[in-house]
């Protein structure tokens, strides 16, 4: 019974982690850049949702329609103005650059909104369901479903549409893409915009589950990174699987040990995975298929 409980609650948290990590994985896959501004974008998405909710009473899930395009525009802008100009330089350069962008986002949010913790509380926040004997809140379920919907949508987009295939091709070999006539700069911009848009969307959805302040996203940043490393860095399905594993590991740690050590789990998992199986789950699956 305890196990089922742990599994269900890990599944719910996994949806949340996965939506926070898709953008990071997409941008890493295409541009080989770790987007440290991911946390900042998520926080901005959350605050935009909060403003929309405060001013117009817009539901966080509905506000995705507004937040996602805004995120896309922001990401495309960052790519064109900043990231593109340091491409070809050592990866440390883009890391420091996006770290700067994150600092700007965070401090700007502190200056505009102050350091208070905010929350979005729609009417259905207290609604709960009984899933196989485990009580699950409506909001967690909503975030989980959103995580699954994004996963399916993203996979379909990447596998079926021309642009999606171009993005995947770019992740594999940039020079070959240029040779067959793909506008690598444009696709890169679109991928960065899409990744940022996913982070902003995650921020909007997470307002349902978490209260937040401008520092929101920093702890999730480390978790997201652990997840994309565990998932194999470029695979969207890998992200979903890894989210579940990390959530489960955390859940078990909290149950068996101390809740305060929850954030330690992701670090330990990160180091172990990077040292023991640098390819992550995706490489593990691939190896089995070959064997």
């Amino acid at each position: 019974m305890r196990l089922i409980e742990a599994l269900v609650s890990a599944l719910m948290v996994a949806g949340l982690y996965a939506s926070a990590s898709y953008g990071l994985a997409l941008i890493y896959g295409v541009m080989k850049i770790i987007n440290l501004a991911n946390a900042g974008t998520m926080m901005l998405g959350a605050f935009t949702t909060w403003v929309l909710w405060q001013s117009f009473g817009l539901d966080p899930i509905a506000s995705v329609i507004i937040v996602a395009p805004l995120g896309f525009a922001l990401g495309a802008l960052i790519e064109v103005l900043l990231v593109r100009r340091v491409s070809g330089q050592p990866p440390i350069v883009s890391l420091l650059l996006l770290f700067g962008v994150w600092l700007v986002m965070e401090s700007a949010a502190y200056i505009i909104f102050g350091g208070d913790t905010r929350g979005v509380v729609p009417a259905y926040v207290r609604t709960t369901f009984d899933v196989g004997g485990v009580i699950v809140s409506m909001t967690r379920l909503a975030v989980f479903i959103a995580g699954v919907v994004i996963l399916v949508g993203l996979e379909l987009f990447l596998r079926r549409s021309f642009l999606g295939r171009a993005i995947r091709a770019l992740a594999q070999d940039r020079d070959a893409c240029a040779l067959v006539g793909i506008d690598t700069k444009r696709v890169g911009m679109l991928a960065f915009g899409l990744g940022t848009s996913l982070a902003a969307t995650a921020g909007a959805l997470l307002t349902l589950v978490f209260s937040f302040d401008p520092d929101f996203g920093r702890v999730l940043q480390l978790k997201s990174f652990t997840i994309i490393v565990l998932g194999g860095l470029e695979s969207i399905v890998g992200v979903a699987l890894a989210s579940f594993l990390l959530a489960l590991a955390e859940n078990l740690t909290v149950t068996l040990s101390k809740p305060a050590l929850e954030n330690l789990v992701s670090f330990v998992v990160l180091v172990v995975v990077l040292v023991v199986m640098p390819g992550g789950l995706a490489a593990l699956l691939r190896r089995r298929r070959v064997a």
Partner: protein, 334 residues
Amino acid sequence: MTLRQRATLLARSSWAHVAAVLVLCAIVAVIPIVDPRSFNAQRLAFYVLWFGILAAAWNIIGGYAGQISFGHSAFLGMGAYTTGVLWFSAHWDPLLTMPVAALVAAGYAVLVGAPTLRLRGPYFAIATIGVGEATRLLAVNVDDILGIKLTHGVTGLTLPNYDPVVIHYATVVVFALTMITTIAIRAGRFGLGLFAINMDRDAAETAGVPTARLQIVALAVSAVFCGAAGSLYAARQQFLDPSTMFSFNISIAIVLMPVVGGIGTIWGPLFGAILYAYVQDEITSLVRNPFVPTLIYGVLLVVIVMFEPLGIAGLVSRLGVVGRKLILPRGGET
């Protein structure tokens, strides 16, 4: 020979840099003798040198070897807490605990460096965010885990008083040692290996540079000075709590100073530290919003990465007073 050529030649010699460090330290050291009541100047001098120690120490692993660490507050906090605990529980003199603190920090660096330094560039950087976070959590919870009162958890450690003038001199000495170490490393074989790792790790490995060992040693040396800086902080501030000593904000500051000042250069970290201490002091009292400086640093970081990768040190060299070769991380051939 023109003045400029002379300056360039001089810059090649490490002794000239060492002499400059000693002169600078001598000037700062006499502040309390010239005016014993110059408390504000002493406070400012402490912060500039203290930040300078941290920035120069970070520069060894981050600037020379090119391994960006976002978790240096872990080493600072380790040092500070070693001194704090020995002073509070065992009544050691805080300055005597400094070598112990430095060693503890170095040992911790070897412990976390051994697995994380297998990672390259960005991976190492992200893993160090985890190091910082994990160390903070440990510091908060260690009392519960061991069952002995060591760090006093989130409430922090309140320490006795200590003569600030003695700390002033100690800070000057540690700063001088840090700078001289970075100068010596840059000039020697060890530094050459680190720069080789920075440029191309595979090529360095192929050429016989023991990359793994050098990086761990570099991190440990870096941690030694951060640990000593932690001791100084504990002795001067007389209060330690995990959320400031191990905070991500301090880690950010330790990255920002050398990067803004001039990553990989000798004097860049000090330029960054002066700017940081000044901005912290002036702007914060001017606008009363602690986040305006952070905004400024963020913008500065973006601008520097885009336009002047050598930061303030690069700008200084552009003014043409001294040749650009004086500033460049090594040898001047890049």
